[in-house]
């Protein structure tokens, strides 16, 4: 008995060690598998505040680049508007007379501007922290778009901050298509290079070539149809030889992200109802 007590006294740190390790792994597994609070992430109040303070300082160093980026984006939009106006004139419709049916698809889409306060690019699971949260109307599952194109999907939200699964995360899956042909697949990322991602599941009879634009498909209603993702960089055969794997050069520069927009799409009531019924029937079985 005495020996046993002695043993326990000498080696009691092993119990503490096991306890702490079990706690750590529970946290790790929970974070990877379940939706939960933001307490253990950089979207909690203390970490968020510190990152926000840092972003306030470092944002100045990137002002020039951000300006250039916005200018380019603006110019592109202006060119697009000019082209569209020309097309409308050819159709003999005056610009002033655009009726509400033309804008209808955009009703219910709202953009919430937000600032990136923390951004990881070279981990295996990269996350982005934004300085807006549920108070500004950001919800889990919303899409995030930057000046270059798609950035990621909101994962967790707290009142003032939100945590976004970056496109550069091996858990990220985004449904997208080749812009001119319409063949669709799932965009994934493999750790290593922050400039490229992979589009899987493009059928072998699809013709795609280097330089084709890749855009969101809009099937999931997270992103609007046609939001830019990147351009085809290389086409290779997939391992099973049944489809192509397309290497996509991303159009967003993830190393230099400051201002982004969160896409708040209101689900059409009919679709929502349909999907809820589906979930219900799955639960019943």
């Amino acid at each position: 008995m005495r020996k046993l007590l002695d043993f326990l006294r000498r080696y009691n740190y092993w119990f503490l060690f096991v306890l702490l390790e079990v706690t750590s792994f529970t946290l790790l597994i929970q974070f990877n598998n379940y939706q939960q609070g933001t307490f253990f992430t950089s979207a909690n109040r203390v970490a968020g505040k510190i990152y926000e303070m840092e972003a306030n300082v470092t944002a100045y160093f990137q002002l020039k680049e951000s300006n250039q980026l916005l200018l380019n984006h603006n110019t592109q939009l202006e060119i697009q508007i000019a082209a569209l106006q020309k097309m409308l004139q050819r159709q003999k419709v005056s610009v002033a007379k655009i009726d509400s049916s033309l804008i209808a698809p955009f009703i219910g889409v709202k953009f919430i501007p937000a600032e990136v306060i923390n951004n990881q690019i070279s981990e295996i699971n990269n996350y982005i922290t934004l300085n807006k949260g549920t108070k500004e109307g950001i919800k889990e599952g919303m899409g995030v778009i930057g000046p270059g194109g798609v950035i990621g999907i909101v994962h967790l939200t707290s009142p003032h901050y939100s945590l976004v699964i970056s496109l550069l995360n091996i858990k990220s899956r985004i449904s997208c298509k080749v812009a001119n042909t319409g063949y669709f697949g799932t965009l994934r990322w493999a750790p290593g290079d922050s400039r490229y991602a992979f589009l899987e599941g493009i059928p072998r009879h699809a013709r795609c070539k280097k330089g084709d634009f890749i855009v969101t498909s809009g099937y999931s209603e997270i992103f609007p149809v046609g939001a830019r993702i990147g351009r085809i960089f290389k086409v290779t055969e997939s391992k099973d030889g049944l489809s192509y794997t397309v290497c996509v050069a991303l159009s967003s520069d993830f190393g230099n992200l400051t201002d982004v927009r969160v896409v708040a799409q209101e689900f059409t009531p009919e679709r929502k109802q349909l999907e809820e019924e589906e979930v219900k029937s799955n639960d019943d079985h």
Binding site: Y13, F40, Y51, E54, Q120, S122, I124
Partner: protein, 170 residues
Amino acid sequence: MIIEYLKKIGLLIILVLIQVLVLNQIHIFGYATPILYIYVLLKLPADISRNGLLLWGFTTGLIIDFFSNTPGMHAAACTALTLLLPQIRSLYAPKGDVELVQVGIHSMGVSFFTKYLLTAILVHHSILLLIEAFSFFDITLLILRVSSSTLLTFVLIMAIDTLNKPKKLV
């Protein structure tokens, strides 16, 4: 005693801030990230209780986890490191030496401290990056990341500890 601990907590806060605001943004060749914050664990006095050592490790790791969105990962690696620290020290301790209290290059000597430091960093980085590899396994990437980060952390801590001379007792 309490002042000593307050100093350690101050060092911890400074190192955490340096780690998350500066060093986490560094990725030399895309692989090597210096992990400086373990310096505070390596410098804990040798006469601290085993339980206290473990708690220091767990807490430090958890704070880093807050910032880097990896709940539990750094905590697990640091707890394992603090379990092994006394063993690593006794492994390399010169025979017949007096009991060591202060940990550092000036009190331990270059050879002893180098071996201790290199082993400790290697243990921590291996465990950390192995846990990370649960979600994505690529052996070349793993070895590259462990070796390059170990080297970088080692150089950084050696430099800091050499500069950090303890005040001479008069």
